[in-house]
């Protein structure tokens, strides 16, 4: 127990990230299922408007910040050091800190579901209810008087710290901890996409930090940054949020694209087609991703010039994304494809992401978006890219790397059931949303008129959502089975080409008995240019010392939610107490003898 609390081992932190994020995924999914249950028929099943607003806000926030980002982080943590031939990340304690901050931030946000009585709210739940992008000026004290929005803004502030810390850590890890010979253009594609993602994180998160700070001043100290009554402009919030928010969606998709770029070559027994192009297109996507934010604001009246510019830049992103897709197909082409579950999910990713990407292009056309924005058509788009894209990609990663992470094989039979249920379920759930949207159903409504004519589509969506729910339970069962009915995994069960497969499953604490010297991009494969790398010695030639654990990251992290609780309750001493805890933690950390 203590060893888990103080751990700085990237592998353990990776597993902590995984289980925490997976739990939040179930919670976010449960929220989605209640949403879908309410929408199963026009007048609903009795979920109140207030509860419904909390549900979709927490669903979006949870899925984005507490499920998808940290699930990717689970792989960053576990896999990246192995792929680059390192013993750990560059800053193991900072890594632990990121995890604890993430966990506590997530708990803080979700505590709002039961914190009502503390605020005399007259109901149990005071969860955030202004939507995951919290548009001003609905978030002002005047229109949202309760603590709901406070939970949201403080929670996101905390989570931002976790992401930023991890961002710096992984940038340095990937650049600086590579094994000898692991040149940049020999990095596995997953590592590359992670690197790009981290650059997006460290540039995009400061912007939302500022937006949240300004909002905090508006709510706590009576300023008018986003309030027209004092000369402020709610549109500024939208700009700041989406300047973060759009890069954020690429933060969510790029790691999944990286995973797919690992899985396809392994299971078609061919190198990734156009490796350099795939890498550079990732860079281009990230770069362009910074220039398109106002496509979320076409209806806000930016004027025709800005609309045209942002429509144009948005469309450009289709090019590097398309390039990736064609290269993936090129990888499959001429291969010897083994239909493992991981491969099915990777192919499912491509198939579904195309649909989401194409609906994205119809959004990118500003005029047509005027009919689509804020309808279920957008909801369809985001779930094809986020679920059909990111989630399917992450599942591919889970089936691919679970043996490495735990030393246990997942059942392929259950995996296939999981895959097909998920694929069919998600299409039933999300495809009809295109239609209900175009037929006039706005998003974020807890009830709709039977006259709209969309009841049938909603029924199908709900059925599909529950199918996905069942599929997720199948997967959960599959995970648990690896504990209860273990089947041990060999070091390289899939015949993968990258370094993580050169060491036992699960890897020993020190990862590599000897740091390998890398001579090419696919070290474990026989290709026409080179043979597989010589196996590493079974035991380390000399004793390897790994750094011990540390309490300080967790102590420092604990300070943050304490400060947030103080702010929530408008009780300064608690804020100060939290600050003291954090400062003590930082000093303890700084002066602790801890060497890598």
């Amino acid at each position: 127990m203590k060893s888990w609390l103080t751990t700085t081992d990237h592998k353990r932190i990776g597993l902590l990230y995984f289980w925490t994020a997976f739990a939040f995924f179930l919670i976010g999914g449960l929220e989605a299922l209640i949403i879908r249950a309410q929408l199963v028929r026009p007048e609903g099943i009795g979920v109140s408007a207030e509860t419904f607003n909390q549900l979709f806000t927490m669903h979006g926030t949870t899925m984005v910040f507490l499920a998808l980002m940290p699930l990717s982080a689970a792989f960053f943590n576990f896999i990246i050091p192995l792929q680059i031939g390192a013993r750990d990340v560059a800053f193991p304690r900072l890594n632990a800190f990121s995890y604890w901050v993430f966990l506590l931030g997530g708990l803080f946000l979700n505590a709002s579901f039961v914190a009502g009585p503390l605020f005399g709210a007259g109901q149990l739940s005071v969860a955030p209810d202004a939507g995951w992008f919290g548009y001003a000026n609905l978030t002002s004290r005047q229109f949202s008087p309760g603590p709901n929005v406070d939970f949201w803004l403080l929670g996101l502030q905390i989570l931002g710290i976790a992401s930023l810390a991890a961002g710096f850590n992984f940038v340095v890890t990937i650049l600086n901890m590579r094994a000898p010979g692991m040149r940049m253009l020999r990095l596995p594609p997953f590592t590359w996409m992670t690197l790009i993602t981290q650059f997006l994180v460290i540039t995009a998160f400061p912007v939302i930090t500022v937006a949240l700070v300004l909002l905090m001043f508006d709510r706590f100290f009576g300023t008018h940054f986003f309030l027209p009554s004092g000369g402020g402009d709610p549109i500024l919030w939208q700009h700041l949020f989406w300047m973060f928010g759009h890069p954020e969606v690429y933060i969510l998709i790029l790691p999944a694209m990286g995973i797919v770029s690992e899985v396809l070559p392994t299971f078609s027994r061919k190198p990734l087609f156009g490796y350099t192009v795939v890498v550079y297109s990732g860079v281009v996507i990230a770069f362009l991703g910074w220039s398109v934010w106002a496509h979320h604001m076409f209806a806000s009246g930016l004027g025709p010039i800005a609309d045209s510019v942002f429509a144009g830049t948005t469309m450009l992103i289709a090019i590097p994304t398309g390039v990736k897709i064609f290269n993936w197909i090129g990888t499959l082409w001429g291969g010897q494809i083994r239909f493992t579950t991981a491969l099915l999910f990777a192919v499912g990713f491509i198939a579904m992401f195309i649909i989401g990407g194409l609906s994205g292009v119809t959004h990118a056309s500003a005029p047509t978006d005027l009919q689509q924005t804020d309808t279920y058509y957008v909801v369809a788009h985001i779930h094809y890219v986020l679920f059909g894209g990111t989630i399917l990609g992450l599942f591919a990663g889970m089936y691919y790397w679970w043996p490495k992470m735990t030393g246990r094989l997942l059942s392929e039979r259950l995996g296939k059931v999981h895959f097909w249920l998920t694929l069919i379920g998600m299409n039933l759930a999300f495809f009809p949303m295109h239609l209900s949207g175009l037929l006039g159903m706005p998003r974020r409504i807890y009830t709709y008129s039977p006259d709209l004519g969309v009841a049938g589509f909603n029924l199908v969506s709900t059925i599909g959502a529950f199918l996905v729910g069942i599929a997720t339970l199948v997967f959960f069962w599959n995970l648990l089975r690896t504990r209860w009915q273990p089947v041990n995994a060999p070091a390289n069960p899939w015949n993968g080409a990258t370094l993580e497969w050169a060491i036992p499953s699960p890897p020993p604490v020190y990862n590599f008995t000897v740091i390998p010297t890398v001579a090419n991009r696919l070290p474990l494969w026989q290709t026409e240019r080179h043979g597989p790398m010589a196996p590493l010695p079974e035991r380390p030639p000399a004793p390897i010392h790994v750094p011990g654990g540390s309490w300080w990251p967790m102590i420092t992290a604990v300070g943050l939610p304490i400060m947030a609780i103080g702010a929530l309750s408008h009780f300064l001493p608690v804020v100060l107490a939290g600050a003291v805890v954090a400062i003590v933690g930082i000093y303890g950390w700084a002066f602790e003898p801890f060497e890598m």
């Binding site: 209806a299 010897q336 009809p432 239609l435 175009l438």
Partner: protein, 339 residues
């Protein structure tokens, strides 16, 4: 594992069910808020553009998905199959599949830009100006040139260009009547514009499209496009002073009760009350619906609305009123008389 027939059955199965879904949407049925049934210049232009882009998207979809399916069907591993050739890439292909999408995008971008400028919101000379002000959770309409102020139901003359200027009294809302026009947000402190012209008379439905709090779902809107003469009659009635109830009638009692009640703190009835928190009631009896086009304007719904609005419409900013029995009947009768 590879012979497993399930793959090759499930894919077509899923596709067929999707197509079936599509058909149900396009064929038949009555969809008051469908974007596919454009009945004004603005919406028609958007619809045309969408169909254009959609066609490209379908083309891309079919080609790319087909390639993907062919790849996985053709290159399944066969026991004892040859070791695949380790191809690392192909420069000509890379250039090709960079340029092809770029070219397609040109065909999407050019009409997009044109439509952006076409629909930038400025109506031709002589358009009827309407100001829309969003409130949590109802719509206020003003016709500055006609000196009319009303709520929740927008009357317009069919065939005449309409210049809509919008802003909000509180949070952001979005004005959307799919058959007539694309959305535009109502933002406090800003003025946004759209312009459109309907083809024909009729009733058009829409609703608020920007999340605006508890009753966002209940912020519907109704547009009534009328022939010139009918519209003119409507204008005349709106500009007339509110009906004065006959002496001794139940309506007169209602008026007195209205005067004595909290109502005057929030509502306007020209000559009786002058407050701006809620909708102008000077001609409320002539409206087909009340409360953000949510309920038909019947005796029953007025009763229920006045006694306890928030129970009908979550969060409604009209508190429950203590009027009861005969008093309530009288007020309702009075309001209904205000044609």
């Amino acid at each position: 594992m590879l012979r497993d027939p399930v793959y090759f059955d499930a894919v077509p199965l899923a596709l067929v069910s999707l197509v079936l879904l599509l058909l149900t949407a396009c064929g038949g049925g009555h969809y008051p808020q469908s974007v596919f049934h454009a009945e004004a210049d603005f919406s028609r232009e958007l619809d045309g553009l969408f169909r254009n882009i959609f066609a490209w998207a379908v083309g891309v979809f079919v080609v790319v998905e087909a390639l993907l399916l062919v790849a996985i069907a053709r290159f399944r591993a066969r026991p004892g199959g040859p070791e695949p050739k380790p191809v690392h890439g192909h420069t000509a292909l890379e250039i090709g599949w960079t340029l092809a999408p770029a070219l397609i995008l040109v065909f999407i971008a050019v009409p997009t830009m044109r439509t952006i400028f076409d629909t930038a919101g400025h109506a031709p000379e002589g358009a009827l100006r309407v100001e829309v002000i969003g409130h949590q959770w109802w719509w206020e309409y003003r016709y500055p040139t006609l000196d009319i102020s009303t709520a929740n139901e927008l009357h317009i003359p069919a065939g005449m260009p309409i210049q809509v200027e919008m802003t909000s009294a509180d949070v952001i809302h979005s004005f959307w009547i799919p058959r007539l026009a694309g959305k535009r947000d109502l933002i406090q402190g800003r003025t946004n514009r759209i312009a459109f012209r309907t083809d024909s008379t009729g009733e058009y439905w829409g609703q608020c499209a920007e999340f605006c709090g508890a009753s966002h779902a209940n912020m519907r809107l109704r547009v009534i496009a009328q022939s010139d003469s009918v519209f003119q009659r409507w204008v005349d009635r709106q500009r007339a002073a509110p009906v004065t109830p006959a002496k001794g009638s139940v309506e007169e009692t209602g008026q007195q009760i209205f005067r004595r009640s909290a109502c005057i703190g929030c509502h306007t009835i020209t000559g009786i009350a002058n407050a701006k928190v809620g909708p102008d009631l000077s001609h409320v009896g002539g409206r087909g619906t009340i409360a953000g086009a949510l309920f038909p304007n019947t005796t029953e719904s007025l009763h229920r609305w006045i006694s306890n609005a928030p129970s009908l419409k979550p969060g409604a900013l009209m508190p429950p009123q203590s009027l009861q029995g005969a008093d309530l009947d009288a007020v309702v009768a009075y309001l209904q008389s205000l044609k």
